[in-house]
């Protein structure tokens, strides 16, 4: 009951020993950290996908091709910056700046580790934390969508407009499911501050009790960042490049950078909210490898696990059709997540003793009677829903299937057709015998 122990929902990380100049240094370091990671991940993605497709990937520029991204960046900077004739100049310039800038902001609230000594001050390895930190990520993502819409609109061209609209509709649809999947985490940790969420996972990472939220979050984070298999905004076959079709030079690079930094942000949030953040995996904590600078290592490993997952998805899955994608978001993820939130709230209520205090001994541990009842009720509801779904589905299928006639003439269409199960062959015409003796169409071909 960590949540009950903390009196407020304010951050537990203590920034009182962090002078302003140290914040500046930390901000600059975080910024460089993100940029370097982006450079690295683009190389990483191309190498890993290369391996998956049995080719080497970039391996010429620098050791193992590590400098490839840098070379590409320099090349982009030296390319001509084209502004189309039809473009709305102001918004055409503003859009990549918004997309690039907003991607960075959210990372400020991610705890990379707990307190470390830095320049003679004891400070958390986190730029800042607030009581509404996680919500801030969602808010910033919402503002970041403007980059996409404006880029599509201001290009003055059809493909970008369609791509931008699609992409923004996609991002806002998945933002709802993402926001709802986080509610369960807040229920358990009693706070939206990232440092307190991490602290509340000291004994048990949230991914276990909240596996469903985790799954929904992982799906939505792919949808939110416009990555394969959900990169419908730039379906090359239909929309060429999507909202950034008309962009070139560093403006294009800004969208590219924004996409990758966003990937880091959502991965870092997943790490923080579900995988224990900077905390060491079970077993390592006892070895004294927990917190401090060790935390950075664990955080880094978990973060890159998600990055590998992104790359893996891209290497193995084809693109989803747009209507299927929207159906998944609106008709599956949102209602299921809402139901899950209600179920978790009831379980939490039972656990807190809001529904009665009766205890039942299970031999090894005591458990509240109401909690058992709630779990039983949830299981019953799930099974009932699955049963109702099955019944409706089989009924719909029965209605949709074409009615088979009782009798079938095997030669009606000119080819011999075997009867369906339960059908009778029409034997009135001596079709089989007649075909063999007189007019066999296969005869002349030998």
């Amino acid at each position: 009951m960590n949540a009950l122990a903390s009196v407020t929902d304010n951050p537990v990380a203590d920034f009182s020993d962090t002078p302003w100049w140290l914040s500046l240094i930390k901000a600059l370091m975080l910024f460089v950290f993100l940029l370097l990671n982006t450079l690295l991940v683009i190389w990483f993605e191309r190498r890993v996908i290369g391996r998956m497709q049995q080719r080497p990937g970039p391996n010429r520029t620098g050791p193992f091709g590590l400098l490839q991204t840098l070379a590409d960046g320099v090349k982009l900077a030296l390319k001509e910056d084209i502004v189309p004739k039809n473009a709305d100049k102001l918004m055409f310039w503003l859009a990549p700046a918004i997309a690039g800038a907003m991607a960075f902001v959210s990372f400020a609230i991610i705890p990379l580790s707990n307190e470390v000594w830095m320049f003679g001050h004891r400070t958390p390895l986190q730029l800042t934390d607030t009581p509404v930190a996680t919500l801030l990520v969602l808010a910033v993502a919402g503002v970041g969508v403007y980059g996409i819409v404006l880029a599509g609109w201001s290009s003055g061209s059809t493909y970008p407009l369609l791509g931008g609209l699609r992409s923004s509709a996609q991002v806002i649809s998945y933002e709802i499911a993402m926001g709802l999947s986080l509610v369960a985490v807040f229920l358990y940790s009693g706070s939206m501050s990232t440092s307190q969420v991490v602290t509340s996972q000291k004994s048990l990472w949230h991914v276990l009790p909240m596996f469903f939220s985790f799954i929904v979050y992982v799906i939505t984070m792919v949808g939110e960042t416009n990555r394969l298999p959900f990169d419908l905004a730039e379906g090359e076959g239909e929309l060429t490049g999507g909202f950034h079709t008309e962009y070139s030079s560093l403006k294009f690079a800004m969208f590219f950078l924004g996409e990758y930094v966003n990937m880091f942000t959502v991965s870092a949030l997943a790490t923080t909210l579900f995988l224990g953040g900077w905390q060491a995996p079970p077993g390592f904590a006892a070895l004294g490898m927990n917190g401090g600078w060790w935390g950075l290592l664990w955080f880094f490993i978990k973060l890159w696990m998600f990055m590998f997952f992104f790359v893996w998805l891209r290497g193995s899955l084809p693109r989803v059709r747009y209507d299927q994608f929207m159906r998944l978001g609106w008709k599956v993820l949102i209602p299921l997540t809402l139901a899950w939130v209600v179920a978790v709230a009831f379980m939490r209520a039972a656990n807190n003793g809001f529904l009665g205090n009766g205890q039942i001994s299970l031999g090894f541990t005591d458990i509240r009677r109401s909690l058992l009842l709630v779990i039983a009720a949830v299981i019953i509801v799930v099974f009932a829903a699955a049963w109702a779904f099955d019944v409706r589905r089989s009924r719909a299928e029965a209605e949709k299937a074409p009615r088979q006639p009782e009798e079938i003439d095997p030669f009606a269409g000119g080819h011999p057709v075997p009867p369906m199960p339960g059908q009778r062959l029409r034997e009135s015409r001596p079709a089989l015998t007649g075909a063999r003796t007189t007019t066999d169409p296969e005869e002349p071909r030998g």
Partner: protein, 121 residues
């Protein structure tokens, strides 16, 4: 007294914005400039670009519905956050009120689903 501040956040946002603005401007300055009428046209896979309406053209009304539903659920989740955070400190009453709220909003959702407002084609 609070032991955190929003200052670093603003500063970090300023770094990000500065970097993005710098890159966008630098890209325009560093590259060559070779004017070509075809280059400034909209890109449509090599064919003559289709006439594009001044002011961006019109978008399908479907997006209006999506944006409106987004607001509805956005507000629902906004109410869920303080509920979730403070749940341990509040009790059964809040849970009942929240379930009522979710059910009421669910009516709207069921209606929209039933009428086919969630279909895309």
């Amino acid at each position: 007294m609070t032991n955190y501040s929003y200052g670093p956040l603003l500063f970090f946002a300023a770094i990000g914005l500065g970097f993005a603005a710098f890159s966008v401007v630098a890209g325009a300055l560093a590259g060559p400039k070779r004017y070509n009428r075809a280059k400034a046209d909209a890109y449509e896979c090599g064919i003559q670009p289709s006439p594009h309406a001044e002011g961006g053209g019109r978008v399908p009304i479907k997006y209006y519905l999506t944006a409106m539903l987004f607001i509805v659920f956005d507000i629902e989740s906004v109410f869920l956050y303080p509920f979730a955070v403070a749940f341990d400190r509040m009790g059964l009453f809040a849970l009942i009120e929240m379930v009522l709220f979710i059910l009421t909003v669910f009516v709207a959702y069921a209606y929209v689903w039933r009428r086919g407002g969630l279909e895309w084609d």
